[in-house]
């Protein structure tokens, strides 16, 4: 009994210490965002402030079009999350429920697609998006559509790999029983598979949301029009060649991080069980 109490004390201490270390950068970011200029540029930064100010946030929100950028980011990320979950779900069902030739080939293709170095592809992707724009203006350069399309495609391989384990874990007999009861394909998919795979969908949604929301590279490549931008470009305003406006950077970063944290809080419950599908043998 005594041993267990000591063990628990050690576990608690280690956990709290780890939590403190891990959370510190976020704390410092939010703190710096509230600090007045003279405290930011102080040789003796303190882990608190007695004169919190909203000045940095005012600067961040004062960047032309910040509200619009925010909505653009939210729109892109939401569309990518929904479409990616839907398309990956269908593909995962096909890969686990159908036996067809080239199935392994397709799986390897998805794995290889996951390894593609994104930064290396900006030039070919730029030309691809430009050429697509001549056929379909909605997904050409400087459109949010192009950003959605590219993020969607890049989020799929991982989402499919993760969901595959989930669909495989749902016993065939369940679908068989439903089919005998006269349920059609769509009903089986929507009423039986979908709810059982939902935790996995929550986990994959997190991934596609984060990559779409936090992206700099694609936004910088495709969005050439200053009126149509996403959040990262608002952050870039505060980087100066001589000394950066750290207060502004931290305030804009805080504003950018909050929605993701909220999203995480909403789906956190499903995360561990969500990843479970990916790690089954």
């Amino acid at each position: 009994m005594h041993d267990r109490r000591v063990g628990r004390l050690v576990a608690n201490t280690v956990a709290v210490l780890a939590a403190a270390v891990v959370a510190f950068p976020l704390y410092w970011m939010v703190l710096s965002a509230f600090k007045p200029d003279d405290e930011i540029n102080s040789a003796h930064p303190r882990p608190w402030t007695w004169a919190p100010t909203l000045g940095n946030f005012r600067d961040a929100l004062g960047v032309n079009g910040f509200g619009g950028y925010f909505l653009n980011s939210l729109l892109v990320a939401s569309v990518v999350v929904v479409l990616s979950a839907g398309i990956a779900f269908l593909a995962a069902v096909a890969l686990t429920r159908f036996h067809f030739r080239f199935r392994t080939t397709i799986l390897v293709m998805f794995l290889v697609a996951q390894m593609v170095p994104v930064e290396a592809l900006t030039i070919p992707l730029f030309f691809l998006v430009r050429d697509m724009g001549t056929a379909v203006p909605q997904i050409g350069l400087s459109t949010l559509g192009s950003l959605m399309l590219v993020h969607l495609a890049f989020s799929l391989p991982f989402a499919i790999w993760m969901l595959r384990g989930f669909v495989a874990a749902v016993p065939d007999t369940l679908e068989e029983a439903a089919r005998l009861d006269g349920a059609n394909r769509f009903t089986i998919l929507w009423r039986i598979l979908f709810p059982l795979v939902a935790p996995g969908l929550a986990a994959t949604s997190v991934f596609s949301f984060i990559t779409a929301w936090n992206d700099f590279v694609f936004a910088k490549t495709f969005l050439l029009d200053p009126d149509t931008q996403t959040l990262p470009s608002a952050l870039m305003v505060f980087f100066k060649p001589d000394e950066n406006d750290w207060g502004g950077i931290m305030a804009a970063s805080t504003l950018m991080t909050v929605p993701v944290l909220v999203f995480f809080v909403l789906v956190q419950r499903h995360m561990v069980s969500g990843l479970g599908g990916a790690v089954k043998d």
Binding site: R8, N12, V22, N41, R103, L111, E119, D281
Partner: protein
């Protein structure tokens, strides 16, 4: 292998149990239906990935053999000269070495720390919830922003870490950690581990939770020590989760760009570059050579992952 009668995109059925023989005897319409069965389900994913991800890769490979002006105008074929020029770069070996250190250290440290954290989070104790919440933070924040915050905390005169270390009398005065390659590289490895921990820990934790309690019960009955149980029961059962964690980390860490870019920009010079940031830098001067390095990079990561998967399978068979 494909039948001429079926459309080029169709996947011919190979029978319900994966063998090819029975399909041939069924009527054509039924065969076609099974062949096209998975198509509507999987074609959106295949089309998108082929068109947006793999097609640009083909273009990248093609341009690695072209002579391309800085303005982007193509001046005809360049044979393998782009590759020759790349391998003759005086900094290339150094950058390759950096990349190896980067991948081995970041993935290795991440896996070891995550194994410990996952073990800790798998216990029942009051502080667990707080710690699990905190661990999500580096995951939710963008990698680029995390790197920026670390750069700010390491600032030679206004940085929090410098102040803390001076107050604790670890160092006498603020250091320019990121100005020196010998201190910048370890710090960047640290940040890369920091951002890789959440996903890895959660994946391993998910793996731990698939291990049934009876297994531990049995080990305890046999009188195995805690450490011994971990090595001979937990770790082998955790193998599928470790596999996923290592493969994903290998890919992400090898292709990692924002940490190095935001913290040192690969500088001074090319001292702290990996092949990924190096590729980005030479793109400004020679697009063809940069494409050649992209192809080399893509080759390296594919070989790395295949090697790891091969070793893993080999180990499994040896059991």
């Amino acid at each position: 292998m494909r039948e001429t009668a079926s459309p080029p995109t169709s996947r011919k059925p190979s029978g319900d149990d994966g063998q090819a023989a029975p399909a041939a005897r069924r009527p054509f319409s039924a065969r076609l239906r099974t062949a096209l069965g998975p198509l509507p389900w999987i074609s959106p994913a295949i089309i998108l990935i082929a068109f947006v991800v793999l097609w640009p890769v083909v273009e990248m490979v093609r341009s690695s053999f072209l002579r391309i002006r800085r303005s982007g105008i193509v001046k005809g074929s360049n044979g393998t000269d782009n590759y020759k020029k790349l391998f003759d770069e005086p900094d290339f070996t150094h950058v390759l070495w950096n990349t190896m250190v980067w991948v081995v250290c970041v993935v290795g440290i991440t896996i070891v720390l995550s194994l410990a954290l996952a073990q800790l989070f798998n216990q029942q104790f009051p502080g667990r919830r707080v710690a699990r919440w905190a661990l999500i933070i580096p995951w939710a924040a963008s990698v680029f922003m995390t790197a920026i915050v670390f750069r700010w905390m390491l600032h030679h005169s206004y940085g929090a870490i410098n102040t803390l270390l001076v107050d604790l009398h670890v160092i006498d005065e603020g250091k320019d950690w990121l100005g020196e390659p010998s201190t910048a590289f370890p710090w960047m490895i640290g940040v890369a581990v920091f951002v890789s921990l959440p996903f890895t820990t959660y994946t391993l934790l998910a793996g731990l939770q698939t291990i049934p309690g009876e297994v531990y019960e049995a080990a305890r009955m046999d009188g195995a020590s805690t450490w011994r149980t971990y090595l001979s029961v937990t770790l082998p059962l955790l193998r599928p989760a470790i596999l996923v964690a290592v493969v994903i980390n290998l890919i992400n860490v090898f292709n990692s760009f924002p940490i190095i870019w935001a913290m040192t920009g690969g500088g001074p010079g090319y001292e702290t570059d990996t092949t990924t940031t190096f590729m980005y830098k030479i793109k400004a001067s020679d697009i063809g050579e940069s494409a050649a390095l992209s192809v080399v990079n893509f080759g390296i990561i594919i070989v790395l992952v295949l090697l790891y998967l091969g070793v893993n399978r080999w180990n499994k068979e040896a059991d």
